[in-house]
Symmetry: C2
Subunit: 313 residues, 2 copies
Amino acid sequence: MTDVAAFSFNKLVIFGVGLIGGSLARALRERGEVEGARKVIGVGRSPASSARAQALGVIDGAAALNDDTALREALRGADFVLLAAPVAQTQPLLERIAPYLDTATIVTDAGSTKSDVVGAARAALGARIGQFVPGHPIAGRESSGVDAALPDLYVSRNVVLCPLSENAPEAVERVAAMWRATGALVREMTPEQHDRVFASVSHLPHVLSFALVEQILNSPDAALKFSFAAGGFRDFTRIAASSPEMWRDVCVANRAALLDELDAYTDVLARLRSAIEAADGAALEAVFARSRLALTEWQEQRAAGLARSDAPK
Amino acid sequence: MTDVAAFSFNKLVIFGVGLIGGSLARALRERGEVEGARKVIGVGRSPASSARAQALGVIDGAAALNDDTALREALRGADFVLLAAPVAQTQPLLERIAPYLDTATIVTDAGSTKSDVVGAARAALGARIGQFVPGHPIAGRESSGVDAALPDLYVSRNVVLCPLSENAPEAVERVAAMWRATGALVREMTPEQHDRVFASVSHLPHVLSFALVEQILNSPDAALKFSFAAGGFRDFTRIAASSPEMWRDVCVANRAALLDELDAYTDVLARLRSAIEAADGAALEAVFARSRLALTEWQEQRAAGLARSDAPK
């Protein structure tokens, strides 16, 4: 990880200093050997959130989104802008930022979907789209908000960048270096690849988990069922306690890829239904055994990957 | 929990000394003030497992299932028999046991399904069905086998009993007292209620989780998808690494209730699909918010329940 020492910045402006934005700020200020003035400015709608982020020492200063003068000042001379707000706000945020954006500033984001974000960025930035390098850090915690921000949230986590043909290679490398300075592993994909992969391993499981809770709530004996739900149910539904607003936006923003995955899933479920109805134990066991083997291998690879990243650098 | 001191037994015979049977044995021998000779005999197919259980001190003695003389001796004068083998083995096991069963011995089980188990018990025991009190302890761990057995596995956990009209109330109370002596909370349901509730909160989530892994494995970019799967995926699929044999049996044994729940689930999923396709954010958010609220309340009730049970007795 020799790249850690190579990263330097003077000013980073974060729109939405919650768990994701706050953890980036803390990582860049508290970890490794990041150089430069390392000033971090938070911009948000809520003065209380900004005050809290400042009180925690996560940011050096704050600007209100609706204050033209403060926003212009915040963005002047910024190396980086990070959008860490819900994806549906990408276009209005970029339209708000565009008039004050220095030509040398690199804008990136932390959105869970990418095709729609790229579309929003093209609409808002027009010919300046090359300044926008789409990104998605794959990290989270059960708690949210700036109080949950951690300097090591991104250690050994994947950060996906989806470079555009208009991006200068140096701009992409600068964003990659920023994330590597947090301990993250940077990987590149196209927006379409990204959206298909995360529709499958993240967005669909959320929908499936929400759907189970909804089904139980719709049943006449919901209270009885909940009273016997145990550890397996708790794990399966943990993601169905996620932010309704965020997942509403993700489902809508990535609906094309999500519907493809959902339809493929429904086909698999129909096959399992037939096997259950036919009491075809052999067919069921074959599917279940394949699943267990794949998960065991995945968990071993994950453990090995995390162990490697934790090794001395 | 004054019932703890009231429980006494001389001999318990466990068919299948793994996590579930082994934890009952350890609880009755290591916890609380259980009285009597407290002898526990394990019966199984594998001499190695029995030897391991004996070496760990979980059981006092062992008998091989195919040894008539040893089996007769093991069952002579037993207060209790626990069946802790896969549910599909209920009928052959009871047929094997029946010739040696004392009229005073109470038989119970730990199967995850109950209607089929009751049917199997009626077929095997005939007029002696009153000796069989169906049960299901709702407890588990990620690891299985007798090495994973714990004396406190059942503390604050639900144990469901499904008494039959043929059971003497004293027999049901004896089984309830045995489970209460482990720290468990005993609740009664009919076999049909039990199967509907667990089809909903346990069996269906397992099928849904297995189906997601199967779908990914069937896709051309499975390796790429797994390489980006993170914490939400891990929680959602934890139960899809469960025993293929056990879940094959459960799905087949409880297929009527499971198919009902699966069809109701498919309807909910179709409604969510329509909302996603129509980009109906308000409809999605309403479902997601209901889910989060219900889970938050459930977790609070769970935490309160566990805290109460942990209070001094």
